[in-house]
């Protein structure tokens, strides 16, 4: 790949992403290219499609829930073009790997309210929780139980009692109890997979710096 283009790209990304060093950004860009599978593309217009990204989420970050993986994809894909470009890739990973509490909070909320009107509604919650009970047959009874669970969650988080969770609600609840950050399903990688990924991605830097 053209070193100059790469350098320029690193420069421009590093302006908006603070949590990575330039060398690290470079590594991430390289990985991005390997994943996309073409080393010579014009950097701005291509990216990872949803399936490729899901495979990454699954194999690298150990995520399993299809619905949530889709949503994580959309949360990464800021410009809604159904592709994750290199900037979105680095930015998303910065939240994943080194995100501050606030960043993660925002990210999770985005994943959960997905495409909505800025609120997480009762129906959305139901959708996310409907597979959360181990039951042999998803009959009438289970449905009732899930609705109750939704009620419990709403009771816990809906501070202004409008039947849906706004970002303010979400923020307040999570700040009170951090366990609620991924309340409707895992959408952030586990600490261990993060460490593994970093070790793998940045090994080049670690060894070459000596």
């Amino acid at each position: 790949m053209d070193q100059k283009v790469l350098k320029r790209l690193v420069e421009s990304i590093s302006k908006s992403v603070n949590s990575f060093k330039k060398s690290e950004i470079e590594c991430l860009i390289r990985i991005f290219h390997n994943l996309v599978g073409r080393g010579d593309i014009k950097l701005a217009n291509v990216g990872l499609d949803r399936n490729t990204f899901r495979v990454i989420l699954h194999s690298v970050f150990g995520m399993t829930d299809d619905v949530l993986m889709n949503r994580v994809f959309f949360a990464f894909d800021k410009d809604d073009d159904n592709y994750i470009n290199v900037k979105e890739w680095v930015k998303g990973l910065s939240v994943f790997l080194r995100g501050t509490f606030e960043e993660k909070l925002k990210f999770c909320f985005e994943v959960y309210y997905f495409n909505g009107d800025g609120y997480i509604s009762r129906e959305r919650i139901y959708d996310m929780l409907k597979n959360s009970l181990h039951q042999q047959s998803p009959g009438e009874e289970t449905d009732e139980e899930i609705r109750e669970l939704v009620d419990i969650a709403l009771k816990k988080m809906d501070y202004d009692n409008d039947g849906k969770i706004s970002f303010a609600d979400f923020e307040k609840a999570v700040k009170e109890d951090r366990l609620l950050l991924e309340v409707f399903g895992p959408c952030l990688p586990e600490a261990k997979s993060c460490l593994d990924f970093e070790a793998l991605a940045f090994q080049h830097i670690l060894t070459s710096s000596f």
Binding site: R98, G99, T100, F101, K104, M128, L129, N131, S132, L133, H134, Q135, E145, E148, L149, I152, A153, K155, K156, D177, R178, L179, L180, L181, E182, V183, F184, G185, P186, E190, A191, C194, L195
Partner: protein
Amino acid sequence: MGVALTRSAQWTAAGHGAKTLEVTPLNEAIVKEIMMFVESFIYKYPQEANYVFVEPLEWKTNLDPSAFGSGYAVSGTTVKSEEVDKNGEPLLYLSVPKIKIRSFGQLSRMLYIAKSMKLKEAQACIEANRNPVAKILGLDYNIINEKNGNSFVASVLDKMNKDDDPESEIKMKIALQLKQLDLHLLNHSLKHISLEIRLNSGTVKNDIELLKQFSGKGEQTVLESIEYTSDYEFSNGCRAPPWRQIQGEICYVLVKPHDAEILCVTCSKEGVFLNGGKTDDEGQINYERKGEIYKDLVTLLKEKSAIFSENMSKQEVKFSEQLQKDQPNKAPKEEVAVTHKTSITSRKSAQEKNRINLGRSQLTKRLEPSLNWRTSVSSKESRNTLRDTQVEKHGGKLEKSRSSLSPGRAQLIRKSVEKIEEIISDSSSESEEDEEQPDHRQEANADLPSEYWQIQKLVKYLKGGNQTATVIALCSMKDFNLAQETCQLAIRDVGGLEVLINLLETDEVKCKIGSLKILKEISHNPQIRRNIVDLGGLPVMVNILDSPYKSLKCLAAETIANVAKFKRARRVVRRHGGITKLVALLDCGKHSAEPAQSSLYETRDVEVARCGALALWSCSKSYANKEAIRKAGGIPLLARLLKTSHEDMLIPVVGTLQECASEENYRAAIKAERIIENLVKNLNSENEQLQEHCAMAIYQCAEDEDTRDLVRLHGGLKPLASLLTNTDNKERLAAVTGAVWKCSISKENVTKFREYKAIETLVGLLTDQPEEVLVNVVGALGECCQEHENRIIIRKCGGIQPLVNLLVGINQALLVNVTKAVGACAVEPESMMIIDRLDGVRLLWSLLKNPHPDVKASAAWALCPCIQNAKDAGEMVRSFVGGLELVVNLLKSENKEVLASVCAVITNIAKDQENLAVITDHGVVPLLSKLANTNNDKLRRHLAETISRCCMWGRNRVAFGEHKAVAPLVRYLKSNDTNVHRATAQALYQLSEDADNCITMHENGAVKLLLDMVGSPDEELQEAAAGCISNIRRLALAIEKARYS
């Protein structure tokens, strides 16, 4: 439930017709379990709840028709449920007082309506329907039920295939449920039984044999007599007839205490109780229980006979000493003993079998029960004995007397390694919560609060949900008021504890965090703590301490801190390596190089260390744990943490140190690690609790002289003195006064305290304070009084009166200190006048009768200056009726300190000729002579002084010679103590006035020894030695003269 009810439940034996359940804890537990099953039935199995019983359950109820509300048609004295069966019959029909119920749904509802009466109703129902399964499911199901379990399932399946209607399916479900309940009940009752059994034939026999040894006529014995009612002993060690053995009875004894009628006592597995006594005509025993059940014979007798408990407490001292002497040798031999023991027991059991076979010819029929019984007991024996020791320790004094009384029991103790450790780990400083307090299930009569149902629902999600649902449920559960007992118990009662502990074993960090957050809160409840330990929660938490997530470590440590409030829990923590891991938590700050992973689960290192210290504080109340902390290198880490300035951190750290400072090892380490400096610094903290623990730690450590100096050098005396003025917080005051007391053992410190006006403050604390404070205050004053200047201060600010007033107390430690202080004051003639006026001498004198040797000795020492300084001392002493005789008789004591102090008192008494005459009449000379063979220098010195003083009367000099006191005295000259030399030389000088004594001395080589003494720099000694030699020499000359003339 059929099997459990017939086999486990204890029905009253006597009744014909409708039997009733005896009121025993086991029965209560069974009834409660059944009740809980029925109550939750409607929620758990709503479909089956509608099933109509084959026959109604029918019983006499106490329910009032008016209690029934919606869903029921109430008319006068009858109630009908609106719920009906296929034929339109109501499922619940109440016509006072009879009630008929035909479905589980109605049963549940009835219990709900019954509210506070529900336990009674459940019991009445069970009593009236002895075979509920048959009534519910029909007779055929019941018959199946009676067969063994495997064929049961098969036959049910068989049945199902045959008739395929939905009802039989429901029936089968119910049958399975009932079967499960039955199993559960059996298990439950087994657990209960294994908890209940305390006594077996061996322990009972030991107790009785021992009591026999200490029975008989006379005042010192504990009982007049104790006998079995039967001489025949069955092979299993029981003496009760076999048909009573089934009831768990072991034997019957007739006990005659000194102060009560003959008691006829039944010893059974459950405990010991009074029975109806022997009926006169046939020697038959009325087996009916007539009193409370006590846990063993000694406890019962203590309750029934005052003399018994008094004399037992006297024996106690002697035996506990003996027992302690045995202890140290025991540990190393332990393993050998164990293996040895097992071989013996196996051989024994073989022998026993033989005996049983022999006996079979006579007793074939009777033997069955006794055999059964034996097996059931022996399998639990090891556990029992273990529990016994546990109980012993907890019960304090009462229990100690039992363990001390029975060497037989002590042998039992040797059996198991665990027990030894138990005894060693028995820490004096332990304030133990009662570990074995009865388990309260949610009060049956209390209205179940709404939280109960909500929590039950949440627990359901914990059980059946994935990680997401679990986290939501956990977070929601945390919103309940977990500090409230109803919620705590509700979580347990709906099976939440098991789930929470299970969650700790998963890999889900979030679930673990959520679960621990709840466990941390509810473990403030003592019952929950025990449940957590019973469910094996501690080892899991100990493992979590290794987790890479710091917040998880913190929560685990905090929960352990809560749970480890009782001994068994502390032991579990130690056994699973928890102490080492907790100590490792203290080691914070070193790993700051960790990646800056701003994960949700991270907290600061300091927080981790704080939680670790918190847990160690709880654990450090057991001796073995103190050792473990030290071995794990905890002290330097604690010392480092002590340098921080966070109060949250300092309190647990100082708390742990203070707890551990009871051990010599720790005190040395504390000195070496320069911990005192920081303790002193924190005395100046604002936090009262921190001040208290610091003072407490200083109190413990200041036994050591260097430490006392360190406290002074680091300026600790001033804050201590100023804390004395703040008397609101009694715990802190006790700790502070304790520290002042121990520090004032050093003279330099006393001078400082005087500067800070602490002595005046201490005098002010002599009134209106709790005993813990008083002991320390008086102890401190006693130390201060060693100096003239301070004695004057105490007198001037009116300290003598309150001190003398305290002489009438009963607290042993306090009396020892008070007598010491009063004695020290009496050195001052002016103070002595006040003491005399307040009748202090008489009070001191009467303390010579105190049962505790320490008090006796201390009182005797205090009397010495009193007699020295009192005006007209001779007259004063004579005025105490029987006083001189009392003192002389104390020479029969076995305690060296008492003997030395009494000798000193006699020396002072004998200064008055008239009194000397009186004590001579009371036989002081032979008693003193008997003591002469001793190696204790303190006693030697005072004894020699007394002898020399007593020589001044009549023919006492000759009498000492006759009682062979002279030869041993000569040997005293070989001692290394100059005080002994001086006193002895003076005594010998007095004795040498008698010719025969001179001969004895000469024969025992006194002259050479005395010649050395003449060269001593001590003038009194020189003089006495010289005088003695001159007497001997003069005698020799006289003899020579007589020979040649």
